[in-house]
Symmetry: C2
Subunit: 344 residues, 2 copies
DNA sequence: CTGAAAGCGCTTACAG
DNA sequence: CTGAAAGCGCTTACAG
């Protein structure tokens, strides 16, 4: 045998019609057991593998969903993808994955490529996307699920990103802090980052605490961003005693840099991060963080999508619970801003 | 318009044949510019998106490759996947991804599902797979590329896992250590882990250093595994002064637990990990590690696959360079094993 | 429970 | 440079 066996080969070897082979494959119960067995033997003997593209074309859907994430190199997205993939696989669906590395144009390209693969549904992270991306989604009429943040017209599986900032602010205020800083990812093209910052700042203001724009440092995600952020904040006329970081990687960078300069956590400085990465619980205490159930987000996305595709009912948007995880914090801020030089 | 436009709709609106539309899409240069433009206008007007499954069926390949990794929740695999995906995307290919969470049976299922999607090629991590998996690959005749470890009959893009163990051993021997321990992932179903252990132990033996099997602790990957590993090693009659860990997560866990018990790194203990995770360079010095270029591995996999699929030439196996990254180590081991209780 | 046949939406020699 | 037509390998009413 030179080539892949086709369904017709199986049919003739088993002495049945192609329709019966097809049924054996997709709806075994509708075939008499004896026939089913003969078909199965023929399949094994011929090393028959169904051709997914032919099935997709004939049946009208490809059992495939596409997702494009900013990056896989962050537990937070990796876990969500894994939760999504695992759940989809259990229901016979495949996952096409793409990363755009925080470039919205790249994202649009990846989305276009995915849409031409006839995916049954598309998952995008957040609500801020290139106009091209929105246009493609609209035109293609592919079901779109928004993850991580709520959208007003598309269904979503989200976290309340403003609440994250609020929890951080409330926690730090309760500890007695009055001088705040924040280290964030770039908010311009990142709705999650923007909402977290807004939630934080609004909560401060609602508590009659002034927050100057200069106390918000925007940095690329990464340890280096956290380090730079800390250094910048310490150069302010009145350095903060409490810092909220947009995620744990920034928070750890901030912490590492502070410690390098002799700052004692949590005595001299309170830091709140976000994500509750596994490693955080292994580091010396001092880092409080907001836990986001991202693996569950992936699973939830899968359920929403399956319902949408298979029952044709547009899923309702859901918002997942988050939790502040406190790991050793002083009950009050230092009396006065610790005087520390940010120079090496 | 109720439904997705098809190529025939575009053709009639543009006043050309479907063949011409098809050419405009896949080989624009073979179409007169004026015609091309008319077709493009029709495409835009009708919101036409090509149906990937029909194209795949008609043309014979789906521009899709599949990869199944142990987990995405480890920078090391996430980076490789990202390198692979990015490179494939640049050449018009999609990536179907699946994770098996270190379960070989799950892997076999994922592989089966992928093979029925008519992927152009499959990437698997390592050489140890369920018999079912091998059988499926053979039967389906899908090009298989092995990543991370070399295989004798399939092409691979690999690291020399034995060399990793060897580098670690040589480094530690050169420092003057004579009592060694190793914390590894489970070697039974993991060829990378096994080869690293073998490389380490063989190098010790070649240097006339005895290594008792009990000094090899197998643990699940994770910080907890590293912690347990350290505790176990410290209970040995003669605790090691140097520990090689199968990866950085284990190494960090080992380090955290040692520090918790008052051990000073690198004064009292030398640890060597593997992977060179970004965070390692931010932790207090003391952790030496072996750097594996995993993003490059992903890119290299993509190139091998593209060559294989498009030129039909089976790629040659390649082995990527690795490098020992030393971050603060004593030049000699402690005079005698530090007496530390592993009890909490 | 099973079969014959139309059709899914493209691509690709083959002519012109 | 363009078109007519066969064919890719399945699924799915429709009959029986």
């Amino acid at each position: 045998m030179k080539h892949r066996a086709r369904i017709a080969d199986v049919a003739s070897l088993a002495g049945v019609s192609v329709a019966t082979v097809s049924r054996t494959l997709s709806n075994p119960d509708s075939v008499k057991p004896a026939t089913r067995e003969r078909v199965q033997r023929a399949i094994d003997e011929l090393n028959y593998f169904m051709d997914g593209s032919a099935r997709a074309l004939a049946s009208g859907h490809g059992h495939t969903v596409g997702m494009v994430v900013p990056t896989l190199d962050n537990s937070i997205f990796a876990l969500a993808v894994q939760g999504l993939q695992t759940t989809l696989a259990a229901h016979g669906y495949q996952l096409l994955i793409a990363a755009h590395e925080y470039n919205l144009e790249t994202e649009a390209q990846q989305v276009r490529a995915l849409l031409e693969t006839r995916i049954d549904a598309l998952v995008l992270v957040g609500t801020h996307h290139a106009e091209t991306t929105w246009d493609l989604v609209r035109r293609s009429r592919t079901p779109l699920l928004v993850a991580w943040a709520a959208h007003e017209s598309y269904p979503s599986v989200a976290f309340d990103n403003r609440l994250i900032g609020q929890l951080a602010a409330e926690h730090l205020i309760a500890l007695g802090h009055r001088q705040f800083g924040m280290i964030s990812g770039y908010t311009r093209h990142n709705d999650r980052a923007r909402q977290r910052a807004e939630g934080f700042i609004d909560t401060l203001r609602r508590n009659d605490i002034a927050f100057d724009k200069r106390n918000l440092i925007e940095q690329p995600f990464g340890f280096a961003g956290g380090r730079t952020g800390w250094a910048r904040l310490m150069q302010l006329p009145v350095p903060p005693t409490a810092i909220f970081c947009g995620n744990d990687v920034l928070a750890m960078g901030c912490m590492f840099e502070a410690q390098k300069h002799g700052v004692q956590l949590p005595r001299d400085l309170s830091i709140v991060g976000c994500d509750n990465l596994p490693i955080v619980s292994h580091l010396p205490p001092g880092l409080t963080t907001v836990q986001l159930p991202t693996y569950e987000l992936g699973i939830e996305c899968a359920h929403s999508i399956l319902e949408w595709i298979e029952k044709d009912v547009q899923p309702v948007s859901v918002c997942l619970d988050i939790e502040l995880i406190v790991r050793g914090t002083t009950s009050h801020p230092p009396k006065m801003p610790t005087a520390i030089s940010a120079n090496k």
